[in-house]
Symmetry: C2
Subunit: 564 residues, 2 copies
């Protein structure tokens, strides 16, 4: 159920060929349909064959999964789903809709894809990395203690940690079981005086891990970690629930799997849209913020080296999308504390840029040239922080139209970055600021404007974001880190996106209504924006100042000082 | 369950003293609590006594009704509610929360307030008014036919019409059972070949009503209206449901009362957030749009007369909030086809202006003067349309700070009014445009930015609006009419609001992404904005052009040409 998954879990890609990061395949005896969102409309259409119907989510006429099922199923059908890979809330919604139409949703014991997937890879079980206080700012015992205080506040006895990045954050451990996300397969169950860590293999044999988790130390009983096999989580959770008195509650995310949710009897469930770990993890402490700043300086150095190399090499005609992505990785890997990329590099030129989450492969690989726009969306995992940056550039002379579109996107990017808003504001209220300049000319883009970013953790994390979709996001708080990435895409022609990672900080305002306080953003990303793409007359003086110096100077030195 | 209610239904005002248009009283054996929103924080605090706890909705620490109940109730409590005055979705939410805490929500047979309300007024039963095609554009038979087409589309056999304005709109009838809203107490149940109208008294004895509804004409059977007593709706609905075959559905708004919803067995219910009437009513046809334009011209004439009168009379010191409101009504009532006001006039000067939905009464009545800001939010029902306009003015010299705040509000008003946005955009995505200039200076206002406006119907109507609250609003469509009314309020000091009624119209844009088309607003309100309140240097050239001529001119003639 994670965004990035191990090869053994890529069941949708196995059955359909579509390997984007978001999508749901539903197969009936007669039909097969694939739901995905605007980022993947083109990619999915290219990867699935004519047996599949592509369901473009977010368009007016696209049916929901449950509506489609009801429309195609014969009377009294059973719909099966693996209960470990469907969130309980989604189960409930689909189950209800099917039931009211005379069908039934059933959990399947053995995953039906696994039954026909002969060469399915093994589940990874890679070594762990421990993070000391200089990176995390807070020790794991302190985190557990703070968590228990939240549990007391909500009157719950147990908390089940199911999200991989939450387990990693809680114990100040990192892994590499999943590509790009420095996490490991594990669950945790925290009681008021017990800690259970469900993890496979012999990973707890490593002396530095044992020392980090104080497994061999004499320790207050409530901080003793019991290490339990990964697969036993369902049975252990059921055993815990058997011992509960009436009114005793178990806290679980409402996004946890149906299997785990059902293991807790309804009367004992305490479900919330996000766990206390999710919020604590989102608000970065001083050590994490400083780490993120260092990571972004290193990342900018690597990308400046890349841009310099591209400017020299592209005119020779030998640089391709793949070799440019490789070179970016090479420069990043030379930086201190580099661990991995934070996601598959989107290196796309010309029409490939219109595929929003494009990943170059040999069949689509295209040479960079002086004739078309190049879009690079890339990032890295450093031991001190995670980066995610998109720049769009031209190695020849961009057309007036390309510059115009780029400038509208830039205006949207600046509008979000410079926005001042009251404490308590949810990110979705800022989304339209990113679109206003595009809307004025009849343009738009079919994705959200920003996502939360982890600190040496998942490059996409909750619970905050900036999107026209009003998911249950938490209000933005000082210390949260999100991306600001409006774009504009023309099918079969080009793609433009400008993305910074920005830190939520308190804003000084002239007045202070209701003593609420205000917030704004500080860009962490330090990678230059190519000035030749900007149509300066379309910018206001205020926007020019934002580009030049983040709005800190009162008087602009004029467009000629734009960074290049 | 309507916003404006008859005196016999003002049970919350009877029990608590608080008579604002929105609020919920909950009384336990030991406590009493009143939930209301930001428009009424001050008014409610003034009207309720110390027995009551004021629950300020929308503030972070305010508990929901169900959370509060759970926190104060003794174990195993019963909570009673009149099932005719609670929407089914709200019942479900509260019932679920109470149940999971060991309590139970029960429908009470006799309303408990009525049991102690000795001098409760009679339910009104006033004469009806018929509207011909020149006002409605579409005859009621055509409306019924279109409705039945929607019912066929959704495969439902019956539709229950519960909202009073939907019944009025459907039959092209108006009433005056409720103050300000030209509606009458009625239900309708539309079958595939039957029409039942539930209405009390001898109102169908009137010859013009009989003729309008063709009650005595020989008519296709499917347009014969059966007139049934108002009180029999529950029994009739139950009888209809008894005759249903499996899979036959009855369409009902999910905002209908628990009592009516429960009358339909679950398997036969087809609930949607808005009925097809609600959407059809919101998208005004050419006759309605023209009517609204005429109404707004008349309304502007009346207010210009008022402003002229105020400028002469206020310096004499004899004008009060009440007499100004009365004078506004006098000028409006001289206009052709005037029927009533569309809501209680908000006429407030100085500190009273900070009470967002203030209504002057003798105890609070204040004289208008040259020393403080005057806010007038008023509107009328004309036979051709409904108006709602707010202007904020000063009869002396406004302070620099007052002008500054006014100008931020004006900038927000212009930002919404001039916004261009794609077809399919929901109104809540425009809300932040109204706040951006205020936010930049640390200011804000605690109410939404706009509401739908009926055509000689309710001044507040669904299903669209402009609000930071993301209620299930429908996308804005050309022909919809909403208000644009940002504000700024300082407790005990002053209130500022600038409100126009605006029509959603197609926008011409330079490009047309995905062939979606764009929309913008055209102001229907023609009442001048007082230029002395504007701090012109705070406006951009583009904003000045919007004030002068609705943005149609390319070059501004400069601030000196602002209307006055």
């Amino acid at each position: 159920m994670s965004e990035y998954i191990a090869p053994c879990d890529c069941r949708r890609a196995f059955i359909s060929g579509f390997d984007g990061s978001a999508g749901t395949a539903i197969i009936t005896e007669q039909k097969a349909a694939m739901w995905t969102d605007g980022r993947y409309f083109l990619q999915a259409a290219q990867q699935i064959d004519s047996n599949w119907t592509l369901m473009k989510m977010g368009l007016k006429d696209t049916p929901t999964q449950e509506d489609w099922l009801v429309s195609v199923l014969p009377e009294g059908s059973k719909v099966g789903v693996d209960p470990f890979i469907i969130p309980a809330d989604q189960w409930k919604r689909i189950s209800k809709a099917l039931k009211s139409a005379g069908h039934v949703l059933v959990p399947v014991k053995e995953n039906l894809i696994d039954a026909i997937w002969m060469d399915r890879p093994q589940r990874p079980c890679k070594p762990l990395m421990t993070l000391d206080l200089s990176y995390t700012g807070i020790g794991w015992k302190e985190k557990i203690a703070a968590l228990r205080a939240k549990m007391v506040e909500r009157k719950v006895l147990w908390l089940v940690v199911t999200a991989l990045d939450e387990v990693s954050w809680l114990f100040n451990l990192r892994g590499s079981d999943v590509e790009y996300n420095p996490v490991f397969f594990a669950y945790a169950v925290i009681g008021t005086d017990t800690i259970r860590l469900f993890i496979s293999g012999d990973r707890m044999a490593d002396p530095s891990t044992r020392e980090h988790l104080l497994l061999d130390s004499s320790l207050e009983a409530e901080f003793k970690i019991q290490v339990v096999p990964y697969e036993s989580v369902l049975m252990e959770l059921q055993a815990i629930c058997v011992g509960l008195s009436p009114k005793e509650k178990v806290w679980l995310s409402d996004k946890a799997s149906y299997a785990l949710t059902e293991a807790i009897p309804k009367a004992h469930r305490y479900l919330t849209p996000c766990t206390p770990i999710c919020i604590a993890k989102a608000v970065k402490n001083a050590a994490e913020t400083e780490g993120m700043r260092r990571a972004h300086i290193k990342d900018a150095v690597a990308l400046c080296e890349l841009f310099n190399w591209l400017e020299k090499e592209v005119p020779k005609g030998s640089v391709t999308e793949i070799s440019a992505a490789d070179k970016a990785e090479e420069f990043r890997s030379q930086q201190n504390d580099f661990v991995d990329l934070s996601f598959a590099t989107i290196s796309s030129t010309g029409p490939n840029g219109a595929i929003i989450h494009y990943k170059p492969v040999p069949e689509t690989n295209r040479a960079l040239s002086g004739n078309e726009i190049y879009l690079l969306d890339s990032g890295a995992q450093y031991k001190d922080g995670t980066t995610d940056v998109t720049r769009t550039m031209h190695f020849g002379t961009p057309s007036a139209y390309e510059k115009e579109c780029f400038t509208y996107v830039l205006k949207g990017h600046i509008a979000v970055s410079a926005a001042i808003f009251p404490n308590g504001t949810k990110g979705h209220l800022l989304d339209s600021f990113a679109r206003s300049a595009l809307w004025d000319c009849g343009l738009d883009y079919l994705h959200g404007t920003g996502h939360g970013v982890g600190c040496f953790l998942n490059v996409h994390e909750g619970p905050c974001g900036i999107s026209y979709k009003t998911f249950a996001d938490e209000p933005l708080e000082a210390g949260m880190i999100v991306s600001d990435e409006p774009g504009y895409y023309e099918d079969e022609s080009f793609g433009i996106r400008i993305e910074n990672v920005v830190l939520v900080i308190p804003a000084k305002t002239k007045y202070n209504f209701s003593n609420r306080g205000s917030l704004t953003f500080e860009p962490l990303t330090l990678v230059p924006i190519q000035t030749k793409m900007i149509s300066v007359p379309l910018l206001t003086q205020k926007e020019v100042r934002e580009v030049v110096d983040g709005g800190e100077q009162t008087h602009s030195e004029g467009p000629k000082d734009l960074v290049s």
